[in-house]
């Protein structure tokens, strides 16, 4: 189906979808569902499926899967819709894709989505994943995982989704050289090894030498999934042929370069860095790896340019990176590694301003407590990510309001804060109010592990309420904690805790409070937000 056709289908569903949602009542009590949705938001906005400073990878994964299962079992449609919310981690979308594809929709009680709308959401989720993660998700569909309670999925829906996504990407030629092994696995999964082998043999022949049966096989299994003209079909045939192992009669420039670089390295200068590096180490072992940096510097992706800065610096090669291509957290992580400079600081400012506009906070004067204690270092897998997330959120809040009183706990104040020391959050709250009693709200940016002593923040909040300070206090937590089944809280009575994986997506987290107050209404607003936040084809409801 072409994108235009998809959009048309989406438009057709608008009214029906809205009607169904308006009259939809969940099969579980609203309060129970509200708790499940809040837990899901906590998880899906913060969990990366990785170890943290405190929890092992397997604990984190088991906890997040359990929360996904709870929502899926409560309402398949709600689960589907919420997976489309902006700001969800890629990991959550990956789990969502696998969960939906490995459970047939047949026999599911009708709710507010149709089979077609679920397919559109699913396709959006799949395509919005970064390529390596999308291919990893396909690999997960092939193998499943008993340990992680994920079933393999090899049904018609899965096959169509894989083929539609891969064959219609404008980046198919690039993917063919960059991810050829993963692409091979994906096609083997979609077609089965035997059919893939048959397709390979057919594609090895010239178009003229293919017989009717050959053409039929190609049409039914490959060509019909390509939504484009003759040129697109020809390119898709050539890429698939290359991926399946045929290496002759290449016409697409990138595929030709791949073959030529094996003999003459210079010819591969338009290939991705890691591909050319692989060719160098196998076919040109005498050439220095630094030469590859120099050869590919004009075709590197923005992320590659960022990631090779240290190596390039050592090799004396200048590779310009564009900081505007990265999110605020990535910029902070980069600054931790390479140091701050004006270009990075300027980009941080612009990014924070942009995110602040989307946030649309109603407060003018706020207090901010930045937890820069030692545990904000995070895990070995993702060092300093919690601290980077806290600083990015601080910047957005600063740009979203006209005045702020900021206090740091542990580390020293500054643009780039190195985490250290203990966690005395309560003292910082009192200090903020002692400095300016007119702040309208306080935001605490913390992993929620308090020790100076534990429970002091809750005590102080209780006292503040007694004194008549009724300002809202929000705890924005960037760290998923498996032992909490969500994010760790500082005070369940007087502080609203919200997960914040990325400050650019704080809006969805803010709905948390509303769902707790008015469960069904809040959930329906969330569904509308989710289904109107993607590309036009996915706008299943009027915004």
């Amino acid at each position: 189906m072409t994108n235009t056709a998809l959009e048309h289908t989406g438009q057709q569903q608008l009214q029906t979808q809205e009607d169904r949602l308006s009259i939809w009542t969940p099969s579980v009590p609203a309060d129970e569902l509200s708790k499940t949705v809040c837990d899901f938001l906590d998880t899906a906005n913060s969990s990366m499926g990785r170890a943290t400073h405190y929890n092992s990878r397997s604990e984190q994964q088991a906890a997040e899967l359990q929360i996904h299962d709870r929502l899926f079992n409560s309402s398949r449609d709600l689960y589907t819709a919420l997976l489309a919310l902006p700001g969800l981690t890629d990991r959550s979308r990956q789990i969502g894709v696998k969960t939906l594809l490995s459970h047939s929709r047949n026999g599911t009680a009708p709710e507010f989505l149709t089979e077609a709308s679920e397919r559109i959401v699913l396709q959006h989720m799949f395509q919005s994943l970064p390529t390596p993660r999308m291919l990893k998700a396909i690999e997960g569909l092939r193998t499943g995982s008993e340990e992680l309670n994920l079933r393999a999925a090899n049904n018609g829906r899965t096959r169509r989704l894989i083929l539609n996504t891969l064959l219609n990407s404008p980046r198919l030629p690039l993917w063919s050289v960059k991810y050829r092994r993963k692409m091979l696995k994906a096609f083997n999964h979609a077609w089965g090894k035997r059919l893939a082998s048959i397709i390979r043999s057919i594609l090895a022949k010239t178009p003229k030498s293919r017989n009717t049966k050959d053409r039929e096989i190609l049409q039914n299994n490959l060509t019909q999934h390509v939504h484009g003209g003759e040129k697109a079909v020809k390119a898709a045939h050539e890429c698939v042929s290359f991926i399946l192992g045929n290496r002759t009669r290449m016409t697409l420039p990138i595929l030709k370069s791949y073959q030529q670089a094996k003999k003459e390295l210079e010819k591969g200068k338009k290939l991705p860095l890691e591909v050319l590096e692989g060719i160098r180490s196998t076919f040109h072992p005498d050439v220095s790896p630094d030469e590859i940096l120099s050869l590919t510097k004009n075709v590197m992706t923005a992320t590659q340019k960022k990631n090779v800065q240290r190596r390039a610096q050592k090799a004396g090669i200048e590779i310009k990176m564009d900081p505007m291509r990265f999110g605020l957290i990535e910029l902070y992580l980069y600054a931790f590694e390479m140091g701050l400079n004006k270009q990075i600081e300027d980009a941080m400012t612009v990014k924070a301003e942009q995110a602040a506009k989307l946030l649309n906070l109603s407060y003018h004067k706020i207090g901010i407590v930045v937890d820069a204690s030692q545990s904000m270092i995070g895990s070995h897998e993702q060092p300093l990510r919690p601290m980077a997330s806290a600083m990015a959120t601080r910047d957005v809040l600063q740009h979203a309001t006209s005045a702020q009183t900021i206090r740091y706990v542990g580390g020293q104040p500054g643009v780039l804060v190195q985490p250290q020391g203990d966690t005395a959050i309560a003292d910082a709250i009192v200090e903020i109010l002692s400095t300016d009693q007119t702040v309208e709200a306080i935001y605490i940016l913390s992993d929620g592990y308090e020790n100076a002593p534990a429970g002091r923040t809750a005590e102080v909040m209780q006292c503040l309420r007694e004194l008549g300070f009724n300002l809202p206090v929000f705890h924005l937590n960037p760290v998923f904690a498996s032992e909490s089944g969500g994010v760790r809280q500082l005070d369940t009575e007087n502080i609203v805790t919200m997960p914040v994986q990325s400050p650019e997506a704080m809006g969805a987290s803010m709905l948390h409070g509303m769902i707790e107050a008015e469960p069904l209404k809040g959930i329906k607003i969330l569904v509308r937000l989710a289904l109107t936040s993607g590309p036009h084809s996915m706008k299943l409801l009027p915004s």
Partner: protein
């Protein structure tokens, strides 16, 4: 007279052991409290010893071969260090501290098995834990025994006290059953700048005094200490006392109903908690400790086992200094 002999003739106290250090703010979560021991002047640290970067094999049941991977400096294997692996091998621990020369291997034949009835030898392990304080004290009293099964009955008793199922002689079963709680202790207690040691309290009583030669060494041993060695005591205390607060943690009492009053109450609660904790420490710091020189170590250092009616542990002395101390409550 050698410095080692002079040291053994002095009356040793905890105060002597911690000479040159100062104390940071108390961290407190549940029944456990930790007072950081700091080297603010830089004079209390000893850079002669590298942080323990170890690689361990077992060459026989009861014998561990510990390699110091540091190329330049000696290191100390902490008292009660243990290796629990996923290999098809018997987990082992050592009862006593040891000093290992750079790029050298120390073969310790007084090690003990901590995984009863499991066969197989460890083929290489780098991560270590420090066995629960309760077991460390028992192991210390058997530190010269060459009997690899010497701790099995104590492990069984320890496991039963914590309702660990099928726990006879298997420390790993305790570690698995309480994995989540143990992991949380690591996050809850944070290292502060210039820290080289800690005083640990459970339920308002001192259960451990630890001193490392320097900050990197402390960074390396803190997780093993807080997670299993002292974390196990916190779990025991939680079972007995539930969520009550220890007597050494003060709550906020607002005498004047204003923001200034709250600030004063907060400051007082911090100060009072610190005072209560230090009162406990003061009770212990001047009590004399009996000493027994266990063995001479490289570079003129000595390993000394110390004890009084409340505390038991080991110190390492070198050139009139005490770079390493690890002391637990005797009745832990």
């Amino acid at each position: 007279m050698s410095s080692r002999n002079r040291r053994t003739e002095e009356t040793l106290t905890v105060e002597n052991i911690l000479r040159g250090t100062s104390f940071g703010n108390t961290q407190s979560v549940g029944q456990m409290q930790v007072v950081p021991i700091l080297d603010e002047s830089g004079d209390a640290s000893d850079d002669h010893y590298a942080a323990p970067n170890l690689n361990v094999r077992t060459s026989n049941y009861g014998t561990v071969d510990v390699r110091n991977e540091d190329e330049e400096r000696e290191t100390i294997i902490p008292t009660g260090a243990g290796w629990v692996t996923k290999q098809h091998a018997q987990d082992h621990a050592i009862p006593s501290a040891h000093v290992v020369k750079p790029k050298s291997t120390e073969s310790i034949d007084t090690a003990m098995c901590i995984e009863e009835s499991q066969s197989g030898l460890i083929q290489g392990a780098t991560d270590f834990l420090i066995i629960p304080a309760t077991l460390r004290v028992k192991a210390l009293s058997k530190r010269h025994d060459q009997n690899y099964s010497k701790l099995w009955s104590d492990i069984g008793k320890f496991n039963r006290s914590l309702d660990v199922s099928n726990g006879t002689g298997h420390l790993v079963r305790f570690l698995k059953q309480y994995e989540r709680e143990l992991d949380e202790f690591v996050a809850e207690f944070e290292i502060v700048p210039n820290q080289i040691g800690a005083i640990v309290l459970i339920a308002g009583k001192i259960v451990g005094i630890e001193r490392a030669p320097n900050f990197p060494f402390w960074e390396k041993i803190w997780t093993p200490l807080i997670r299993v060695c002292y974390g196990s005591l916190a779990i025991q205390a939680h079972k007995l006392l539930g969520t009550t607060q220890p007597s050494t943690r003060s709550s906020i009492v607002m005498l004047e109903k204003s923001l200034d009053g709250l600030k004063a109450a907060l400051d007082y609660a911090h100060m009072h908690s610190q005072q209560l904790v230090m009162n406990e420490f003061n009770k212990a710091k001047q009590l004399p400790l009996k000493q027994k020189v266990d063995s001479a170590m490289p570079s003129g250092a000595s390993l000394i086992t110390i004890a009084n009616q409340f505390l038991a542990g080991q110190i390492i002395t070198r050139e009139e200094r005490i770079p390493y101390a690890s002391i637990c409550a005797a009745g832990a």
